[in-house]
Symmetry: C2
Subunit: 450 residues, 2 copies
């Protein structure tokens, strides 16, 4: 079968869906097809929460409803080759799709490290496939001793969730000397580790898994320090690689690049082909260097840029480059990070000034449900421009990190933050006299710290 | 007694305290005195919460500890006259304070409308005086039928708190046809009214109190529609006027101005005298017109500008003008407003485009403790610059309004918000595909709404 479409989006994850919906808004007259491998995907950030927080793990499924409602056709098939000259995508089932504009939103695949014994039963990767994950959830609930490999976001979220299951002993192992090391400075990493230990997770850092032992089903794990641990199951959360096989059939992957190369408007080297989300290269907001940020939020921001700009550049992208902006929730503590950490800023060669503040997230401090909140801000010492920030605190910290994110995107300065106008309320925020973003900026501005 | 000081701050509320502390940071060598009427003041925004949310109403007291710790002298006295030529402040107790720089942070006083019978027992104003408020709290707890006059922030917060006291019937009366009419558009006002009715508050709008009846103690209230209501107590929350008597002794109050006139750096017409907070005039961020915004958060932002700039302008104020930025909490619902509403923007003559979005503040929507969240954004139609926003939702909405506030202060555009990079997390925020600030911006950008 041969089909013609104005826009073909390959990939039905958050990037593909949002790109198609944005394109529908900006180009109401165009025909749009979204091609996905499976009818039902999952919300990527919700995967760990299928274990305990969500009563029904199927609540994390993600279907095609939002697309078909907007007159976007959905095709379940797998594209296997792109013919750029002919502007055709060929599929596994033998169909041909002629496109005017093509969007690759094909995501990433979990890394499977070459550890002996990794192919055994009981060892799960974080695949974005609903049936696989439902099986994982069911099995995990029935086990007792589970090891999570990887101390990044996905790893600590799995460890947190597993610890809420009855009668589970959870272990977390991280190769680096501390958790969340790429996104947080050590004092924030320590908070995450404390919170996991508090709920009984055994955290091991600076240690590598060298072998999975068992007879077809994992029974024991051997570590780089020679120790062994008996386990009933393992979750591998050590990261993902961009899916580039399809793009490679059209020579869209440049030498030395891990993802599909794109320009500021998510266009590949072929002006009629865009790539967005995990499969596309990213440039750091500050340094323009290539960075690896695989987040649904980043993917959807890119999808909106691409979706609006498929035929002509309509929406100018003012925030050039990608900001790593994360939040997570561990045993009641919110941790957020945006932009550069103190360590990454130093490593990139920035001369910086740093300010921290601690307060309570309601006022007076004896208001019900008050939590401590801690903010760290990193500024360029001379230009005073904000480079990054981290927050640890109660639920609202999940949006405080987005204030910091906007400050970064708008190149806010230290003195602007010092005199920020903000809303404060006893039930909702720190007191205006101690609002932590303001106090951290004041602290960073040198001289005597108030 | 005659005293000399480099900096004299008159007023010990949030503005005075923060100004003195900021001055201490920027001018470590200067002598600083804060003069206040009473030893113990209160946190202004916490006043309603002395009734129920705070177990001990004294937790809302605000003492001098933070000042004296930073080597700032505190004097309990009342300034009654300023001699600008001599650079001297004279006090009630007969002392003279020679200053180099003077900061007036003398606040505002609750409006007492000339309603017959208003001087009776059982009728309270919202004074920022601890003993007065402690008496009010004690009395209110023992009453049964209480009327709150005024449907602005303070009025609805009092009504909400009173409704949490056992066996209380609470009435709220507002002269205008709806609650929070100066800060919210009607659909948000309606949410506040619904929430109050849900907890049993009888809300009356478009009605005025014409008389308080009683024999020295209020027993009955007569309204403009002829109805009468039996009450045991009344709280008057209809607003405040700037305290200008002291400034008037030095001719610092200009004709036709309600507060003390100040420039962009909070300097009065006398370059050695600053005025900050409720007692100082404010100019609207968009129109530069005089506006009345009396908020501790606004006051502290001004205090930080003034405190840093007492001797030379050190910290440039980039966000010129005042943004009205508010949040409140009514029966579990957070309401926030920043900048212009749709109605106020229209009234000021702006050609606007408006977008709204509704979502759930966690994802998937079945995550525990998820609340609906609703955002409305107002943009200049042609320049695309954000003019204002409103939010209604769960606890995090108290910081979402501060994202909108920063967007306003940084003159963020519609297309920048459409492609905002933000952190999202199942426990903490709406899904990245539906993040309400982004979706409201998309909705405002015309054409077909996604």
């Amino acid at each position: 079968m041969e089909k013609k479409t104005d826009v073909l989006v390959i990939g039905g994850g958050p990037a593909g869906m949002v790109c198609a919906l944005t394109a529908r808004k900006y180009y109401p007259e165009k025909s749009i097809i979204v091609m996905k491998d499976v009818e039902e995907g999952v919300v990527p950030c919700g995967i760990p929460y299928m274990l305990s927080a969500l009563k029904d793990p199927r609540d994390n499924a993600s279907g095609s409803g939002p697309l078909t409602k907007k007159n976007i056709s959905v095709v379940i098939d797998r594209a296997i080759e792109i013919d750029r000259a002919g502007k055709v995508a060929l599929t596994e089932s033998g169909d041909k799709y002629n496109y005017d504009k093509l969007v690759l939103a094909v995501g990433s695949s979990p890394i499977t490290p070459p550890i002996p014994g990794i192919d055994q039963e009981g060892i799960f990767l974080v695949k974005k496939e609903l049936p696989y994950l439902l099986k994982m959830v069911e099995e995990m609930k029935s086990l007792r001793r589970v090891l999570v490999v990887g101390g990044g976001f996905i790893g600590i979220e799995f460890a947190d969730e597993l610890s809420h299951l009855e009668d589970h002993q959870v272990y977390l192992v991280e190769l680096l000397p501390r958790l969340l090391a790429n996104s947080f400075d050590p004092e924030f990493s320590a908070l995450a580790e404390d919170k996991l230990r508090e709920e009984g997770v055994k955290v091991m850092t600076g240690i590598e898994v060298t072998e999975f032992l068992g007879n077809g089903r994992v029974e024991k794990v051997r570590f780089s320090n020679g120790e062994e641990l008996e386990v009933d199951g393992v979750i591998m959360g050590i990261g993902a690689n961009p899916n580039v096989d399809l793009a490679a059939t059209a020579d869209l992957v440049l030498k030395g690049q891990k993802g599909i190369w794109v320009d500021e408007y998510l266009r590949t080297i072929d002006p009629d082909i865009f790539a967005i989300g995990d499969c596309a290269t990213k440039r750091d907001f500050y340094t323009r260097k290539g960075i690896s940020v695989m987040l649904a939020s980043t993917a959807t921001a890119e999808a909106r840029v691409a979706g609006a700009n498929l035929f002509k550049l309509k929406v100018i992208r003012e925030n050039k480059g990608t900001i790593a902006i994360y939040s997570t929730y561990v045993n009641g503590l919110v941790l957020g990070s945006a932009g550069l950490t103190e360590i990454s800023a130093e490593k990139e060669g920035f001369e910086i000034t740093v300010g921290t503040a601690e307060a309570v997230d309601k006022h007076p401090a004896s208001m019900p449900f008050a939590s401590p909140v801690r903010v760290k801000l990193i500024f360029s010492r001379h230009s005073g421009i904000i480079l990054g920030g981290q927050v640890a605190g109660g639920i609202s910290s999940g949006e405080i990190i987005n204030i910091i994110g906007m400050a970064i995107q708008k190149r806010d300065s230290l003195t602007e933050l010092e005199t920020l106008q903000m809303a404060t309320h006893p039930w909702l925020t720190t007191a205006p006299t101690k609002y932590p973003l303001v106090m951290a900026a004041l602290a960073a501005s040198g001289e005597i710290i108030v």
